[in-house]
Assembly symmetry: C2
Homo-oligomer: 731 residues x 2
């Protein structure tokens, strides 16, 4: 979308409402009322052939009779008039429209046809449209309220972009009494044209927008979304509430990896990689956005807690540890300084419990010392409304102390939670006015602190160098194998083909030989010198075990020759016409004490290829200890991916077992990413088990599926929009 | 505690405040102000030798000069005057006291001595005391506020009992503007005498108390607590906020089971077994208590969701599934009836999305139909403030519909969440007035619904027959073995002793023989007919592997004889004086495909013996897939215990593996419970691995530790207080 069209959408100089109405409570009337009430400075035109004027404004009978081409059209006509209206707008010269009109669904087949026509007309006329079936859009600072929302937003720094109209109305309603303001609110509706990616690209450059809130049901055009999201997240916090966490995909799963890479897990991976902060509930969403707006980037994750009561301190500590946070270990000097000012019964550690009868003086002095503690990165101040201290005075002492520290250059974040409500309400107002983050309960404050921690972690990930184009040792062997398999009409590669592909990408496999006949197989077994597995090679026979085409644990030339002969015999009967290419002889590797892992590839229809890592074995779906990443990955990303599983702990060594070679495992994940990027015919891949120990890894068993139609590309190959990053650097 | 003393505590006819003061903001003055302001009907006396009167009330110089023995004494004197005061009160005839006085800790050794003296005096004088170091206690309906809390509680149905004074002040402060009332509020302080068990026993019989809220830092006298809690939880909902979830115990862990049975996990087990509802945060605590107060017991767990917007419906569904809840599958007849009244685009399933322009009429008609749906057990009604429907009208329609259904006998719970704040506030007030549970966000509503589900599940568990005294096949063999081990000065039983103990309790072990010498060992190996393990038997040698006293995988008489001879030779050198009792020969059992489990026993210092179940192997602590139960257990309880682990799924069979014999596993857990109850000298026990498959279980390896000092008894052996249950049945 050209910036021009988006500028017209967000900052129009003139607006036309097509389908204006004077029927009370109709969408046309409510939208008109909102447009008039928002204080729009530009020209406002109405179109309705049945009226001469509505609400004191002249009505034009049609778009082509307007005196000029308005920057933005708001369409609230019946469904069958939308496409003709867009055509007229295009002719007139209007390039942006918000289509509020809904009800296409109710018209069945005809509705679907009408909606297609709208998209076609918009494309033909170069008119970009938001909607249809949306609540509209609002830009409070521009005096624009092109929506039928019941409650208008106040101006502020949050941009809210939502796929659900109901959520738009709910969140505006929620924000109103809290005084939370918005830079813009966009209801995307059916996203027939303008989508999240377009909006994010615009918002990155919008100076009004300090942080962004997305309500997502499903992403379309993931490549654009990811490129815009990764760029904007490096500049502004983006919080995402994505629903449908438990919606089962209709995807048929043929591999372990496919079964474990559920659609919502891919969203998780994509959001994490883009540096977005995902939340699961509406309350968490607001807490996150307020926290990020009111706090600074944090140098570290160590939290000091200051309280006038033991209970709340323990509550906060519980919540912090549960959320994976770090309780600061106060510096010895800090402890000594606190000893000098606090009563002998203070807690002598973190949480710093000053005990119940502490007042403003104690809060000020203690906080001053904590702000100077070199061993903590942020402070949470708690207060219980005891009879003997005044909560307001304590709050004011905290505010004053922070202001003094700020003016002396401290940027340390101070979070607050004044427990209670009756006595705490006025203290909360003081904190709001001083723009110090404050929360109703210690648990909520910890959640807020952890959002800041999570944001920092994501920023660190974003700052990683963009994975370069695959640096494959030599992919041509894999290319040839895959081409041959496709020419054979295979979906699943034969054992020797799997081995060739993995070997081409430097993934260790057991020693093996591909041989033409039984004698060569016997010689190969001899050469390998350990028990071997013997597998028949035939393009026609896919399920070899079913026809006795696999024999395990064969020792010595003699038994291999016998097994090969028996296989050929059985095949003659079972698959008379099958072409026999020979045998694949593979050493049966034993690695006692090694840990069984799974590493795999699958392709998400939205976000493209993904790499799976986790605990392996025959019951991987039930153990469900896996994590997913979009490709390509760096070794650092692969390490973080591994850390998100339970098996990670075991890989560190236990009970005398040496730690596994973690780099070797990470390299397999990186190489798999390179593999699927370089070979878009790969549809699925399972290495299970990938055994790992201190010496390295071996892919003991693997399956690879190919398809002649290449999969969708890796969305991360499109770099973050440089235009956004460049603009940020200038700004 | 006799009921008489507790009656005097909760409903005194006369109160004396010892340590009354007129110094502003002193505890003595604030407490007096609270006592006077609460509308106490009985006689109020003051004691302070320095004043003739305070606040218009006469002051007595000492307790013995009082005209009568007050029912309740409130003590707010300096620390060293508390014990003498209690002595005087005892002489006078007062039997209950609230000791607010704090500051013992600051006096160091002297403070500890003073606190001991108080307890001794109270016991000697039969005066029951609450505290010391507490905020006091309040019974609003009796006009009693014997505390220095800043905000007085309103009268209501919730009893709040807290170990943290700070939390008392915070929660009263929170409750005040919300109109939440209390039957009583007790600040337990240091719990030198009166504890949770005492208070629960009283509250069970208190008609004012409808539900109970506990803030717990640590339970003392677990036997009394559990007996009272299990009885009261069968009658009234009890919500517990227990802190210190992540506090590491100082307990030295010698066994896997000991390491995994952390103190907070035992609290979880105890609360669950007592039917208490544990919550982790203050907001969750209030939501739980409100939900339980406003809803009825539910016949099942299937939730129907009614909404006027898709987004909130998906949000609620996400939260429900995440919390382990069940989305109702509407009956076909219900769908047809909804088809008849809703627009064609309604969601045609659950959640029932009526679409955005639904008003009061649609809410009424749809809810009527859902209230009659035979396939759901409860309903959540959601509303988004769209421009076209009035939230208040919709709320009123819901209230009216529920009232009609109630008067027709329906007891189906209807939960509500009106999204937003600005437009939703008045609807929420309507719901509050109608006593329909309502929540700010769909997520919170689901949390509320799930509290009701959890309560039902706990009630079902409580209704289980009380485990009878152990019905051991024959424990005498185990008794003899344990006695012998103790006489040998062992902590860890020898292999043959472990086998004998497990066998006595019907826990399958591999075939084995206990033999006197090498020849007999060889014969035994022959008889067992499979590879065997050979272990030296000697009371002096504990770590047999260290001195070569264990040999594995021996096949045939010859190799057993050789191994035995080598062992004897090595022992002569390594432990010259050691007495050799012979050998233990055990079949090396292989169960390919069987699942490795751990089953164990350990003793919690507070709650007594516990049974651990989980995923076994050498890395059990790192895999951390275990669950804990207090003993004794029934088979049903054991099944529920197994269901709380991840390995449970795998035990159901997977990829062609038949399901494991679940009953056989459960029986091992039940038997372990019987074992530790019958033999209080057992300190620790690990069976790891306990292998399980379709054929049953075998304890492949086990360790048992004994101690001459018997462990504390199983708290569940004390039945729930019958007095409470009997009173409930009468009431």
């Amino acid at each position: 979308m050209s910036i021009t069209s988006l500028d017209r959408l967000f900052a129009p100089n003139s607006v036309v409402l097509v389908g204006a109405s004077d029927r009370p409570d109709s969408i046309g009337a409510v939208t008109l009322c909102n447009l008039q009430g928002a204080g729009f400075f530009g020209d406002l035109y109405l179109v309705n052939p049945k009226h001469a004027s509505i609400g004191g404004l002249a009505c034009y009978p049609s778009v082509d009779r307007l005196p000029e081409a308005p920057d933005l059209a708001v369409i609230a006509t019946p469904p069958d008039q939308v496409a003709p209206t867009i055509e007229q707008l295009g002719h007139k010269g209007t390039r942006a429209a918000v289509v509020i009109t809904a009800g296409f669904g109710e018209l069945g087949e005809r509705g679907i046809a009408l909606q297609r026509e709208i998209v076609a007309k918009a494309a033909e006329q170069s008119v970009r449209i938001v909607g249809p079936n949306c609540v509209g859009m609002m830009v409070p600072s521009a005096g624009l309220n092109a929506s039928f929302a019941r409650v208008p937003p106040s101006a502020g720094g949050i941009a809210f972009v939502s796929q659900s109209g109901a959520l738009v109305t709910a969140i505006l309603d929620w924000a109103k009494p809290r005084g939370i303001g918005f830079s813009s609110v966009v209801s995307l509706g059916d996203m027939a044209d303008v989508d999240f990616g377009d909006i994010l690209e615009y918002l990155a450059d919008d100076p009004q927008t300090k942080s962004i809130l997305l309500y997502v049901e499903g992403i379309t055009n993931a490549e654009k979304f990811m490129a815009a999201a990764r760029a904007i997240a490096a500049i502004k916090p983006v919080v995402v509430l994505k629903v449908g966490r438990h919606t089962e995909g209709a995807k048929a799963a043929h591999s372990h990896t496919g079964a474990l890479a559920g659609s919502d897990v891919v969203y998780d991976a994509a959001f994490r990689r883009a540096g977005l902060l995902r939340v699961d509930t509406m309350p968490a969403m607001f807490d996150a956005i307020e926290t990020l707006a009111l706090t600074e980037p944090q140098p570290g994750e160590r939290l000091a807690i200051l309280t006038n009561g033991g209970g709340p301190g323990v509550l906060a500590t519980d919540a912090l540890i549960s959320a994976g946070g770090t309780l600061a270990q106060l510096a010895p000097d800090t402890i000594e300084r606190l000893n000098a000012i606090l009563p002998a019964t203070w807690s002598h550690g973190n949480p710093v419990d000053m005990i119940g009868d502490s007042g403003a003086k104690e809060y000020r002095e203690t906080l001053e010392i904590l702000l100077g503690d070199p061993a903590s990165d942020a402070i949470l101040v708690l207060n219980c409304p005891t009879a003997l201290g005044n909560p307001d005075d304590a709050a004011q002492a905290v505010i004053d102390t922070v202001e003094v520290a700020r003016s002396a250059g401290s940027r340390r974040n101070v979070y607050t939670s004044w427990l209670g409500e009756y006595s705490a309400a006025s203290a909360r107002k003081l904190f709001d006015a001083a723009e110090l983050p404050t929360y109703d309960a210690p648990d909520d404050a910890i959640a807020g602190f952890m959002e800041r921690v999570r944001f920092s972690r994501h920023q660190a990930l974003l700052a990683q160098p963009h994975p370069a184009a695959p640096s494959v040792p030599d992919g041509s062997a894999a290319t040839a194998v895959i081409a041959r398999a496709l020419s054979q009409g295979r979906r699943w590669l034969d054992s020797d083909q799997v081995d060739a592909v993995l070997t081409a990408y430097g993934i260790p496999t057991p020693p093996s030989r591909t041989v033409p006949d039984a004698d060569a197989a016997a010689a190969a077994a001899e050469a390998l010198g350990v028990p071997v597995a013997l597998k028949l090679r035939s393009p026609e026979i896919t399920h070899k075990s079913d026809v006795g085409g696999v024999a395990l644990n064969l020792t010595g030339a003699q038994s291999v020759r016998a097994a090969a002969a028996a296989m050929l015999e059985r095949t003659k009967t079972a698959s008379p016409g099958a072409q026999i290419e020979g045998f694949f002889v593979q050493a049966m590797v034993r690695r006692p004490g090694a840990i069984e892992l799974i590493a795999g590839l699958s392709v998400d229809p939205t976000f493209g290829p993904t790499v799976l890592f986790g605990q392996g074995g025959t019951a991987v779906e039930m153990i469900a200890d896996t994590s997913l990443e979009l490709v390509p990955l760096t070794r650092d990303v692969a390490m973080l991916q591994m850390q998100r599983t339970r098996i990670w702990k075991l890989l560190q060594g236990y009970r005398g077992q040496a730690p596994a070679n973690l780099e070797a495992i990470a390299d397999v994940l990186v190489r798999l990413g390179e593999l699927i990027v370089a070979h878009p015919q790969i549809a699925e891949l399972d290495i299970n088990p990938l055994v790992a120990d201190a010496h390295g890894v071996v892919a003991l068993d693997a399956r690879v599926a190919v398809e002649s139609v290449p999969h969708c590309p890796a969305v991360l190959l499109t770099p973050p929009y440089q235009s956004i990053l460049a603009a940020a650097e200038e700004g």
